[in-house]
Symmetry: C2
Subunit: 244 residues, 2 copies
Amino acid sequence: MTLTVFADRMSQPARAIIIFCKVNGIDFEEARIDIFKRQQLTPQFQEINPMKKVPAIVDGRFKLFESHSILIYLACAFPGIADHWYPGDLFLRAKIHSVLDWHHSNLRSGAAGYVLNSTLGTALGLPLNPEEAAKSEKLLSASLRKIESFWLKGRGRFLLGSTQPSIADLSLVCEIMQLELVDEKDRERILGPHKKVVKWVADTKNATSPHFDQVHSVLFKVKEKLQSQRAVGVTSQNVLPSKL
Amino acid sequence: MTLTVFADRMSQPARAIIIFCKVNGIDFEEARIDIFKRQQLTPQFQEINPMKKVPAIVDGRFKLFESHSILIYLACAFPGIADHWYPGDLFLRAKIHSVLDWHHSNLRSGAAGYVLNSTLGTALGLPLNPEEAAKSEKLLSASLRKIESFWLKGRGRFLLGSTQPSIADLSLVCEIMQLELVDEKDRERILGPHKKVVKWVADTKNATSPHFDQVHSVLFKVKEKLQSQRAVGVTSQNVLPSKL
């Protein structure tokens, strides 16, 4: 029985799952679903995930989609996963669920909306939308303030004051990493005021090294390409990973 | 140690939690946080939930917000809760997490956005927004199609083909109930094409009777008021539960 992870590393929740597997020594096959080629829309992939989104997994006869559900499943189904990733303690676990639920309509919605409408839309054949980007930035900044003032409270370096990362740290940090794609002055404007968030991103990266950077390498390549294009005043049309 | 549920029964996730407690014989106190009076914004309530939203719970020294996390916590923390609400089986549980995660950005976002922008906004001092209502209706209808064609597949009457309801049935059905507030022809246009959804709502209501209707009675009163107002061509300004 083999675990297959259907993913495009340009997808932030897909990266979280791949990093989780690598850090925890989970044996898996990665099946690339190129979202820029719209491979998630094929009838074959819809047999895996009828919602037409990556990531999804197949573990033997069992299919699952939604990244938080997948992270929880992996933490429970595979032996030897350290408890800090998804604690057995009722109260700690409830708090991790709470962060993950909050994430959906806050950080995730804000960051994904901002990056798509300010930067990445063109590469997906969509027009950029400054008005939607501004709305998303407002939600993104409010979410970062909440992470800074509430979720990162406490003595530890990670969410909920923990001394070691959980699946929630991995999910939220991978989301924030998407901001690498936007213009540097915009990223600085958005992330700059949140020193604890910036440190937590670095701590999560260090705690999952070297896998974190390796899995993000596609993102970093697209970032470089976008930077070169901005330097010569070209819009982001040919930055697809498949064209690099 | 007493469980306190901070809720406004006009909030669909708050209703889900109250119904869950009542159906399962969980002893609790209900602390009303009137969202139309913006009581969720008070410093006292922010001590309970810094995100300024209902529902939230305090169980002894433990505070928690986000309704799905609360439902999972209650199902695990209290003795004697039947397994079907939140199955111990790894695979079934993973599928329930998957439904709940999907819910956030699909049915919940679509239904809440539609009801707010088409009907309820005025009562909250916000202008109605037909353009946003149309966008939300599109997401809501797509979500209902997915429930009909995918989540309600299988032999059982409930989500994932189950023969008895889970916390996911309760959460999603309470969301759909919010549509009781909109104009009847709009509700019929939206729900009418989805016969399995309509039957599943009735089945969930029956499985949690009489608590389901009792907890929804505030919603039904606001519905009546709105219907009377529509009959005489008045907009929905004085339908607040506190004014009924």
